[in-house]
């Protein structure tokens, strides 16, 4: 797969179709791939990587890159293409300046899970069908890809690439996953249990803002969390209220636009399951206002930008779901 992507990136650059390519390159270790811009064939040959750790969603980078001179090629996995379409819908990306290469995806892997599977001292990874061969200092070890998938990929909602100029690999279909199962499990708890659960999770927050920075839906040029007057800006002032507030507001700001790409949870250095907040909003909107998938098409309206006269009253919250 990596060779096919590299080859395509090089031919796009050489033919002059695009001026730069958005892809992934190795960070400090082979598993912490970082988004990168490639402007020459040498860079691509040397650094371009597509591996089971290419989890990073490149769609957000298209906002700025599409405003540069010339065209930008970008590799989008199925879930990234939803984010891209959502940004396009919000007029954030100049479509004519982006060349999208859709890449089929078998799910991305979680290095923590690879380690937990007993692969200490890993130095590299190879794909072999459905299994992964991890090269470690102590020899090679074969793992099943299914066992080390990122949480978000385990409940993948769609293998369909919703927007592309060309495809590498097969176009997929939407998947019927039970991604709301963890939300339902939480809803079934008592408020006390939920409160304790979220305190345990959110109290670990160090306000590094990684979840905001990586989120393709969080792309305001001026963010409320950067506004000194909002009182939300600094970590030094944080206590339990501030943690709740930050995460409620963050999730609320992307409600109706969140495609559930799961980047927030992937980048969280404290492993807070942030996607559960976003997914709660998605689940509520689906249940109360009809099914909606952000980024699935150009025409549908986000539930929060729309209304009907017969909408339920907010008091519905007192009666539905959860224990009293």
């Amino acid at each position: 797969m990596q060779e096919r992507l590299k080859e395509r990136a090089i031919s796009l650059l050489e033919s002059g179709t695009v001026n730069r390519v958005l892809g992934w390159k190795t960070g400090e270790f082979f598993y912490d791939l970082t988004p990168a811009v490639f402007e020459s064939v040498e860079e691509i040959e040397g650094d371009f990587v597509y591996s089971p750790f290419s989890g990073a969603n490149l769609s957000k980078y298209c906002i700025l890159k599409s405003r540069k001179e010339g065209k930008t090629a970008v590799f989008l996995k199925p879930c990234d293409s939803y984010s891209f379409l959502e940004l396009l819908k919000e007029h954030r990306i100049l479509r004519e300046n982006v060349y999208i290469v859709g890449v089929a995806c078998d799910g991305m892997c979680d290095m923590d899970k690879v380690r937990a599977a007993g692969c200490e001292g890993a130095t590299g990874i190879r794909e072999d069908g459905d299994s992964l061969i991890v090269e470690t200092l102590y020899g090679e070890k074969t793992l099943s890809r299914q066992d080390v998938l990122l949480e978000r990929c385990k409940v993948c909602k769609s293998k369909k690439i919703v927007i592309y100029d060309e495809l590498i690999g097969e176009q997929g279909e939407e998947v019927d996953s039970d991604r709301f199962q963890p939300v339902e499990a939480l809803e079934a708890m008592t408020p006390e249990e939920r409160f304790t659960f979220w305190r345990q999770e959110l109290s670990r927050c160090i306000r590094c803002n990684a979840c905001r920075n990586v989120c393709p839906a969080c792309s305001c040029e001026k963010c409320v969390f950067d506004n000194a007057d909002s009182g939300l800006r600094n970590k030094a002032a944080a206590d339990s209220f501030e943690e709740n507030m930050f995460h409620i507001i963050r999730a609320f700001h992307v409600a109706g636009r969140c495609t559930d790409c799961g980047e927030c949870s992937r980048v969280c250095p404290q492993h807070i399951p942030l996607h559960l907040l976003n997914r709660k909003f998605i689940k509520d909107m689906n249940e109360l206002y009809g099914p909606y998938q952000a980024g699935a098409d150009m025409d549908s309206k986000s539930p929060l930008m729309d209304f009907t006269q017969g909408d339920c009253e907010p008091s519905v919250v007192y009666t539905r779901g959860g224990n009293a």
Partner: protein, 146 residues
């Protein structure tokens, strides 16, 4: 924590300028009683209520927050309260999801002619929140009064 007999909750009521604020006024001119715990904040339309306002109110010591607006269909700006209705439904549901007592938040539609409804709503809400006791799950210790 046992409910303190002398506990007096602080209630913040966000009232839309065109209906509910006038409704509150009417309940005053009609000399209808509602508890002094209710602090009214006037907003131009119920959809002006940023979710952050609700959280801020709790931070600064509110024990309950209620939003009053025009009845759906009667919005001065035609559609504002329809948007507010969806937003508040989601926000309240999220607060409940985080384990914060859902009874502390409420939305009620009060028209300018419903002075009696305003007073009744406030009486009922103050009673509910008094039963719940002080807001502890969404409080900011730095803003604590005692």
């Amino acid at each position: 924590m046992p409910v303190n007999e002398s506990f007096q909750p602080t209630i913040v009521a966000f009232c839309c300028n065109w209906c509910s604020y006038a409704g509150a006024d009417l309940s005053g001119t009609n000399r209808l009683q509602y508890p002094a715990n209710v602090k009214i904040i006037r907003i131009p339309c119920s959809c002006r209520l940023n979710p952050m306002f609700v959280l801020r109110a709790f931070q600064r010591g509110a024990d309950g927050v209620i939003l009053c607006g025009c009845h759906p269909g009667d919005c001065h700006y035609t559609t504002g309260n329809y948007y507010a209705r969806r937003r508040m439904t989601l926000l309240f549901s999220m607060l409940d999801y985080l384990g914060i007592e859902k009874e502390r938040t409420r939305v009620e539609w009060v028209s300018a002619a419903e002075g009696a409804k305003f007073a009744a709503t406030m009486n009922d809400f103050v009673q509910t929140v008094t039963k719940l006791g002080p807001n502890r799950r969404l409080e900011d210790l730095r803003c604590r009064k005692d």
